[in-house]
């Protein structure tokens, strides 16, 4: 599985799961799955330290989140020990419920962190830039240039530093950096002028701006309005169906606007990702999962993933259906292994 669309659909499913789940069993399961997937992807790229460095980070997140919640929140029945009430903020009971709540928060943060880490492993920069719609072509180009610009800057800094050092600059005071910053600044400016001339000479031109097209403007306003009002209605406990329909209208009008605007843009893209069978199957699978989730959400019988330790800590439920749903996160792994595709990407 390599195609950016399949990965984005995976991202949507994983984000939904990560943000709706509060059940520590499921969250731990997600964490395990993601660590496994990430380890596998990183190993294919030749880095073996991925898991250890991430486990350290996750450990720190869990610790912090647990400790801080216990320090500041003093509700709950099962009490470890008490600090005097008059102590500012931290005074009060230290409870198991509060610790559990903090740990659950930590788990969510860790899962989110791993999800984006995996996206970063799975897609190369070009694919990520490719996700920017064509109407924002100049933004995509700016991102690309910045990728090449920074290595150049680094090299220039060391060249200039060396030249100034040989001229007797001792590089001791802050003022000694001026002879490096100024030539760097000027040469970067000169370089960017040459670059823009070169881009102009090769036919780069800012596309018609969004404002100039009425349809695009209407589309974007409509989308923003629907999404915002859906959110407000949801906040005030209106029937969820209304919000969902509004969300859908907003999402569709965003997609439609981009689609219409994209067709007006006269640039083409050299890199076209090829759809392999695995990518198509995986995308269809994730699309089905997403639609099922949407339908469940509308019908009001969405899976019970939530859990709260308050007011009294209880055993979280463990439902086999929810476990199966969570297992979909591992699908990329199966897709990759089943096709046995090798890392032959030019990048």
């Amino acid at each position: 599985m390599k195609h950016r669309i399949s990965w984005i659909l995976w991202l949507v499913v994983s984000l939904y799961l990560a943000l709706t789940t509060r059940n520590p069993y499921y969250l731990s399961l997600q964490l395990l799955e993601l660590s496994f997937l990430g380890y596998f992807l990183a190993k294919r790229k030749g880095s073996t330290k991925w898991l250890t460095s991430n486990i350290r980070f996750i450990g720190i997140v869990l610790l912090f989140s647990g400790v801080i919640n216990t320090l500041f929140s003093h509700q709950g029945k099962i009490i470890f020990f008490k600090l005097p009430q008059q102590w500012l903020i931290i005074g009060g009971a230290f409870t198991l419920e509060s610790l559990t709540y903090g740990l659950i928060n930590g788990l969510v943060i860790a899962v989110l962190f791993l999800i984006f880490n995996i996206i970063n492993l799975a897609l190369n920069t070009r694919q990520i830039i490719h996700l920017i719609p064509k109407i924002f072509y100049p933004i995509a180009i700016i991102l690309t240039i910045s990728l090449t610009f920074f290595p150049t800057i680094q090299r220039r800094i060391s060249e200039i530093k060396e030249a100034q050092q040989l001229r007797g600059n001792q590089m001791k005071k802050i003022a000694d950096w001026l002879p490096i910053v100024l030539p760097l600044l000027i040469s970067s400016l000169e370089r960017s002028i040459t670059l823009s001339e070169s881009m102009t000479a090769r036919g780069f031109h800012p596309q018609q701006s969004l404002r100039s097209s009425k349809n695009v403007l209407i589309g974007i306003v409509l989308a923003l309005f629907s999404i915002f009002s859906a959110w407000i209605l949801q906040l005030f406990d209106y029937p969820p169906l209304i919000s969902i329909i509004l969300y859908l209208i907003g999402g569709i009008s965003v997609l439609l606007t981009f689609f219409i605007a994209n067709r007006k843009i006269s640039v083409t893209r050299f890199y076209q990702e090829k759809w392999k069978l695995v990518d198509i199957l995986a995308s269809i699978f994730f699309a089905i999962i997403i639609s099922i989730l949407v339908i469940l959400e509308i019908s009001g019988c969405s899976p019970q993933l939530t859990y709260s330790p308050y007011p009294v800590i209880t055993q979280p439920i463990f439902n086999i259906g929810a476990v199966l749903l969570n297992l979909t996160l591992l699908l990329p792994l199966i897709a990759i292994i089943s096709t046995n595709c090798k890392e032959n990407d030019p990048d």
Partner: protein, 535 residues
């Protein structure tokens, strides 16, 4: 076909036009050389042809330009992008993407070329330029020559009718430049291009061009076939100068065209005697078995030589052979093995700060040094770094031989390339070091600036300084060298008398040496001077 009619242009915020009443008609399928001193307006003229001037730069333009069916002044660079391919002076600063393939695709993407066609064209151009091995590589990992090829490929992929080069060979060694120009001629015929090249080194380009457009010091333009224009240039390449002094007609443009009859005639009349090797005046810098590794790769190996007082040592060698690494190893910027001695002291135990009191170094890009508000301020900064002090009068006196005394108060970055470089040289020598190292000092310099530079260096040599110049400009080196060191693949190939270096090693033969191959003549003055003496 390019036709320019009564073109006058001045940049915004200036009073003097940089091009005055330019008339030009370049037929299709030809190669035209644009010559002229630095700052005379060569690049401006080239930028007029693809509409960057005045659409990108602003300014006031009068007259007409016709490039095939387009008028750049009216249509602007966007329309011209498909018609004119432009390769800028430094390929590095014109790249948008990090990968070769993507870079080549850029202009096609902008033009909205359909996917199938786009792939086809990119494959074609990659095959033609034989870039398959570097197709997916990162541009920053390429060699200078490869970068240039990528730049040309990205300009050609859009199938332009006109191809423009701004000083394409200024960073190439003699052999690579020759190969490049041959490649260019083939491109021009294969693709039916109309090619324009701005270049300082006439001796390299002349054999390949059909016409010269020369921009004079007063910003007018003369245009015609090389033989018609050359007599009007005050600084023609060696071969033309020799031919002119012997009234040979028609003027030869390459060594091959210089008929054997003429060489024999001149040679038989005035045989040149061999000279003795230069006297060893006592080494102040001594290198023995110097080797340097960078990233486990052997860059230079077992290099041993002395640098004497009152001597100019020229280091020659192809691109990427380790010349700059040698200079950096001498200074101790990179660790090396072997013996380095300065005034009989082991340099291994010396700090860089004490080495640079005696040795100063001019980097390839003089702009890396300059940042102050005026020339004289630059000098004061170096003096302060070395805890020295001089009066303004002394400083201005120091600037006198560098031809900068009158403009001591000017902002260094407003100066011409030649002046800018001399400012950098002044800034690194004001504390009176005994040894001066220069890395590719002729890059981008026109003939005048090169002559000024060589007379300045000779002057200092006569005052007792030891000077080491790294260059691949053979003609400049022949004029300057007291002794020559040739490095190839990091190894020492030869060290000794310039008359041996510039005659015995085919790659480094000057035009004069190639013409009079069994004499010791290496610069035109050897021949022309003898002629006058003979009379």
């Amino acid at each position: 076909m390019i036709r320019i009619n009564k073109l006058t242009y001045r940049y915004p915020n200036t009073t003097q036009p940089v091009l005055i009443d330019v008339n030009l008609e370049i037929p299709s399928g030809t190669i035209t050389l644009i010559s002229g001193a630095s700052g005379s307006g060569k690049s401006t003229l080239l930028r007029c042809i693809n509409g960057i001037v005045p659409h990108f730069t602003g300014g006031v333009i009068q007259g007409e330009i016709q490039v095939f069916e387009e008028n750049p002044i009216q249509s602007g660079p966007l329309k011209l992008a498909g018609l004119v391919g432009y390769v800028f002076q430094e390929p590095e600063s014109q790249f948008v993407f990090d990968v070769v393939e993507a870079e080549i695709a850029f202009s096609l993407e902008n033009a909205g070329v359909e996917q199938l066609e786009l792939n086809k064209r990119i494959n074609q151009i990659i095959d033609h330029f034989q870039l398959n091995s570097i197709r997916y590589k990162h541009i920053q990992d390429l060699s200078g020559g490869e970068k240039q090829k990528v730049a040309i490929a990205s300009a050609l992929v859009n199938h332009p009718k006109v191809l423009i080069f701004d000083e394409p060979t200024s960073q190439l060694d003699a052999q690579t430049a020759e190969e490049f120009l041959q490649f260019l001629v083939n491109l021009t015929t294969t693709f039916g291009l109309t090619t324009l090249i701005a270049e300082h080194r006439l001796e390299r380009v002349l054999p390949f061009v059909d016409a010269i457009a020369h921009i004079t010091q007063d910003h007018h333009l003369i245009f015609g076939p090389p033989r018609k224009i050359l007599p009007h240039l005050d600084l023609a390449p060696p071969i033309v100068r020799i031919a002119q002094s012997f009234n040979i007609s028609p003027l030869p443009l390459s060594v091959g065209e210089f008929s054997n009859k003429f060489t024999k005639l001149i040679k038989n009349k005035y045989p040149i005697e061999t000279e003795d090797s230069p006297v060893d005046t006592g080494p102040i810098l001594l290198l023995n078995q110097l080797s340097t590794n960078i990233h486990d790769q052997n860059i230079i190996k077992d290099i041993s030589f002395n640098l004497n007082q009152s001597e100019i040592l020229v280091v020659l060698g192809p691109n990427g052979t380790g010349k700059t690494t040698l200079l950096r190893s001498i200074l101790g910027l990179i660790p090396s093995e072997g013996k380095r001695e300065l005034f009989s002291k082991n340099m291994e135990i010396m700090k860089i700060s004490s080495i640079i009191k005696h040795i100063s170094y001019l980097p390839q890009n003089p702009n890396d040094l300059l940042f102050a508000d005026s020339i004289i301020e630059e000098l004061k900064i170096t003096l302060k770094n070395h805890h020295q002090r001089k009066t303004d009068a002394q400083l201005i006196e120091f600037l006198e031989p560098l031809d900068l005394a009158k403009q001591y108060n000017r902002y260094p970055r407003d100066l011409s390339i030649g002046e800018c470089q001399r400012t950098a040289i002044a800034a690194i020598t004001i504390h009176d070091p005994e040894i001066i190292l220069l890395d590719e000092p002729t890059r981008g310099l026109d003939y005048h600036s090169k002559l000024e530079l060589s007379s300045l260096l000779k002057n200092w040599r006569n005052q007792g300084k030891a000077i080491m110049v790294v260059t691949h400009d053979v003609e400049f080196a022949a004029r300057l060298a007291d002794r020559v060191l040739i490095i190839e693949n990091g190894k020492m190939l030869f060290v000794g008398h310039p008359r041996v270096a510039f005659t015995q090693f085919e790659k480094y033969q000057t035009q004069t040496a190639r013409l009079f191959s069994d004499t010791n003549a290496i610069i035109p003055e050897d021949i022309i001077f003898d002629e006058k003496n003979g009379n």
